[in-house]
Amino acid sequence: MSCGDPYVREFQERGYRPGDEARFRAAWTKLEAAYLARLLQATEPFSEWRDRFHAGAAETVRLVEAFPGEARFLAFGALAAGEVGQEHRRALADRLVELVETVREELPDPDAVPAITGAWIVAMFFDRVYRACIRSEGPALRVELPELTFLAVSAYFGTEAGLEELLRRR
């Protein structure tokens, strides 16, 4: 997912500065496109939502581990950039919510699940990535993957299905 953009390295070293907006936007756009392409590639082989969700989550974790600087830029650094970062972060979250919400095609009664469920799942996942990026110690993000899948499956298919998924992924 590395974009090779020198701005991301600069950003890590000295943070966001007034006048950075154009370079920030360019670096973000490249990284976001690379991340979404990897995500789609990882989830494509699976027909069932649960498998696609787990594959997408696992790929995200792999990318966070493989490209910590880029992950910090997207998850944590962008929010320190103020309004421009908040705006981009929001747009990425919206795109991820759309992907998560494809689950409704598999639900017998799609309207029975609250409309903001996808946003909640993305928010939980983002929180885990965010905190993995800011802390120097604590459990590895990968260890938390089964729990995140459990919560996502529970929210759409019920707790029993979530627990089944948890046992399958542990």
Partner: protein, 187 residues
């Protein structure tokens, strides 16, 4: 501190200077520096006071209720949303602008999530959810944080109470199942 919270909520942490805070507060610059070493110090004072007040309000709401776990969670979330609606500037300054401060906020952020997760964890025994991973409460609270972040970012702090049923439902599903969570959310 009220004036500092207001101007930070309005313009964003990065766009506000000590000069702006001093002007908004109608105090002398020397007075500001008698109390705070920097803009960051001032922000942390707002952050600590606001988050402590919200946590206290939520703790009280949970403790006051002698009802079962789902009702206590519902009362806690109602108190949380009420606190945000009561002082939307302070809430936005802390929840939205906190992450804009940069790495210096990290420890406070982790503590905030941990404190609220501890409240939720206190009802785990009632929910009979011993099979759940140990960090579920932190994950649930983290998700709530970012949902509130986006709601505040979109500038709808006065409509926070409308989120209550969904937030209650999500917070409870892992512990008591969808049916009981739905009942508590509707109550």
């Amino acid at each position: 501190m009220t004036a500092a919270a207001r101007i930070i909520a309005e313009r964003g942490y990065r766009q506000v200077s000590v000069t702006d805070i001093v002007r908004e507060s109608r105090i002398a610059r020397t007075r500001f520096y008698e109390n705070f070493g920097s803009k960051e110090d001032c922000f942390f004072a707002v952050y600590d006071a606001t988050t402590a007040a919200i946590l206290e309000r939520v703790s009280e709401a949970c403790a006051e209720s002698s009802e079962p776990f789902p009702k206590r969670v519902s009362a806690g979330i109602a108190a949380l949303l009420g606190a945000i609606e009561a002082d939307p500037d302070a809430a936005r300054a802390c929840l939205v602008e906190g992450p804009a401060v940069g790495p210096a906020i990290n420890e406070r952020f982790e503590k905030l999530i941990g404190d609220f997760a501890a409240l939720l964890r206190s009802g785990r025994e009632d929910g009979g959810s011993s099979e759940l991973p140990e960090t579920v409460e932190e994950t649930v609270v983290g998700g709530l944080y970012w949902l509130l972040y986006y709601a505040l970012l979109e500038g709808r702090p006065k409509k926070m109470s409308r989120l209550r049923p969904q937030l209650v439902e999500f917070s409870l599903i892992p512990f008591v199942g969808a049916e009981a969570a739905g009942t508590a959310a509707a109550g």
